[in-house]
């Protein structure tokens, strides 16, 4: 993406953001709440218009590139009591591939759904209602829905917020296996969780501060959060104390 800006009225949410992620990268966008992380995601997915700049996904604009993108939204946005089986939910990840007015699921869609369930290690729960799964399983089902679309780029929004430590380990080993086949971008404010796992990091607080070597330095955090942040503890609450100086 090059020089991307997004405004809501007078409010500049993203200001001149440029970033490049390469194939098979495991990239992370970190930054405080309200720093524009969700807006950045929506821009990549082509869900909102850019005020200026350009986004390219494998050479395509976001609207077209969407078919190559798998999106895993935040866990808490789901109504898990909705009457739907796991397979039916995952099939919805195929809808962008199905031509025609009716959007009837074909054999290849069922096969893709089955493969996606296998990738997240849940092959035996396809016929179960979504509501009967554990939280960790539900999280993997959401990932499987994104994988069913056979994406080249997987984007995850705050995937580690509501999971315990063993589930988190399981989650990152799953991502490891996916990296052979696709690029993964993770958006989070949980710096501790991603530290040492990703190979490309960008810090977002209206502007984007990129660091290709994936080392989180104190200087970097200070420039983004405006305060020193303890790297050892998980999910320390942060407060932005002052405006940025440009880096």
């Amino acid at each position: 993406m090059e020089d991307v800006s997004v405004r809501y009225g007078q409010n500049v949410v993203l200001d001149g953001v440029s970033w490049e992620v390469r194939e098979h990268d495991f990239a992370a966008v970190i930054g405080p709440n309200g720093g524009g992380k969700t807006t950045l995601l929506k821009a990549i997915l082509g869900l909102l218009p850019l005020s200026s700049g350009r986004i390219s996904i494998f050479g395509h604009p976001p609207g077209e590139g969407r078919r190559m993108v798998g999106y895993v939204p935040q866990f808490h946005t789901f109504d898990f009591s909705y009457p739907i089986t796991v397979t039916e939910m995952i099939l919805q990840g195929r809808l962008s591939h199905i031509p025609g007015l009716l959007r009837r699921y074909r054999d290849e869609d069922y096969e893709a759904a089955e493969r996606a369930l296998g990738m997240v290690g849940l092959s035996d729960v396809g016929d179960l209602p979504l509501s009967t799964l554990s939280g960790g399983q539900q999280q993997r089902v959401i990932i499987a829905r994104a994988l069913a679309g056979e994406p080249r780029l997987l984007i995850l929004d705050e995937p580690t917020v509501y999971v315990d430590a063993p589930t988190e380990e399981q989650f990152f080993s799953l991502i490891d296996t996916l990296l052979d086949e696709m690029t993964v971008i993770i958006v989070t404010h949980d710096i501790g969780a991603i530290s040492g796992r990703v190979n490309r990091i960008a810090c977002l607080n209206r502007r984007l501060y990129t660091h290709g070597d994936a080392m989180i330095t104190d200087d970097m955090l200070i420039s983004v959060y405006g305060c020193p942040v303890d790297l050892i503890a998980h999910g320390v609450p942060h407060r932005v104390l002052r405006e940025h100086d440009d880096v």
Binding site: L45, L47, R66, R67, V69, Y71, P73, T77, F78, D79, Y82, P83, I84, T85, E88, M89, Q92, G93, L95, S96, L101, L102, R103, R104, Y105, P129, S131, T132, R145
Partner: protein, 279 residues
């Protein structure tokens, strides 16, 4: 006002089934129950109960218009529910207004319009009570054909667009990412509600429509884990509710619309209690 077609003498169920008006009531009730089981399931899982209330109460404006212009009040109701569905959808998607704010405004404006039209109509408004609270025992035979066609339309639309409607009611944002026409599908849902409301008006009336739209579906949700089976069970519960309500109404000589709703609420309460105690 309410026309009492009450029980007198020692008639049995089999004898009253011989009456044309009772046959009409049963056919109308079954048509309405099928529609409310299907549309009602979308309403319950997508939490569109308030929107349905707004659309159904707006129908009263159309009933008033019907009296004022001397046309069939049910046709007026149809025009107004369709109009309300469009308006709520437009304000929600294009002006980004909160759905419950728009719904409240349209709800009251529709009712007020109806009151004004009826006040402007010279003379007495016959059957007004039936439009408000329903009287299924008075459904004329010619209405059945229209109700049947409307049901057929609803069934066709839902079966053609089922996968997309399910996706948009489950996760609207993801449906948009999948490239589905989310705006159009949302309008389609609202129009389904509008059509179903018109079917239900002659059965339970404008005021009680929301209850029949939601009670069978909410009961079905307790026992099912997929949307199609929820719809199927909601239809069965709806048919049972309406037929029991009509029969009780006839033998107890009490208003049919209210009896149907009380039966529906009773079944829902019993189902909730049963599930609570069975763990």
């Amino acid at each position: 006002m309410e026309c009492r077609t009450g029980y007198s003498g020692s008639m049995t169920m089999f004898e009253i089934l011989g009456y044309g008006f009772f046959q009409n009531a049963i056919i109308a009730g079954i048509i309405a129950a099928i529609a409310c089981g299907i549309t009602g399931s979308f309403v319950v899982v997508r939490r569109m109960v308030a929107t349905s209330g707004g659309i159904s109460h707006a129908a009263f404006g159309g009933v008033g218009l019907g009296y004022f212009l001397g046309m069939d009040p049910l046709l007026g109701a149809f025009l107004f529910t369709i109009g309300a569905a469009f308006l709520i959808w437009y304000l929600k998607t294009h002006e980004l207004q909160e759905t419950d704010t728009i719904t409240g405004a349209i709800w009251a404006t529709g009712m007020a319009t109806g009151v004004i039209f009826i006040a402007l109509t010279p003379g007495y408004a016959p059957d007004l009570f039936s439009y408000l609270f329903g009287n299924i025992l008075l459904v004329p035979r010619q209405d059945l054909l229209m109700m049947g066609l409307l049901l057929l339309l609803i069934l066709t639309v839902v079966s053609v667009f089922f996968n997309q409607l399910a996706a948009v009611t489950f996760d609207e944002e993801y449906a948009e990412i999948m490239g589905l026409p989310v705006g159009g599908l949302t309008l389609l849902l609202f129009l389904l509600i509008a059509g179903t409301v018109v079917l239900l008006i002659s059965v339970v009336g404008i005021i009680l429509v929301i209850a029949l739209l939601t009670l069978p579906a909410a009961t079905a949700r307790l026992f099912t884990r997929t949307l199609p089976s929820m719809m199927g069970i909601a239809v069965l519960i709806g048919v049972g509710t309406v037929l029991t309500g009509i029969t009780l109404s006839y033998f107890l000589d009490l208003p049919s619309g209210a009896m149907i709703i009380l039966v529906g609420a009773g079944i829902y309460a019993a189902a909730l209690t049963g599930r609570h105690y069975s763990g």
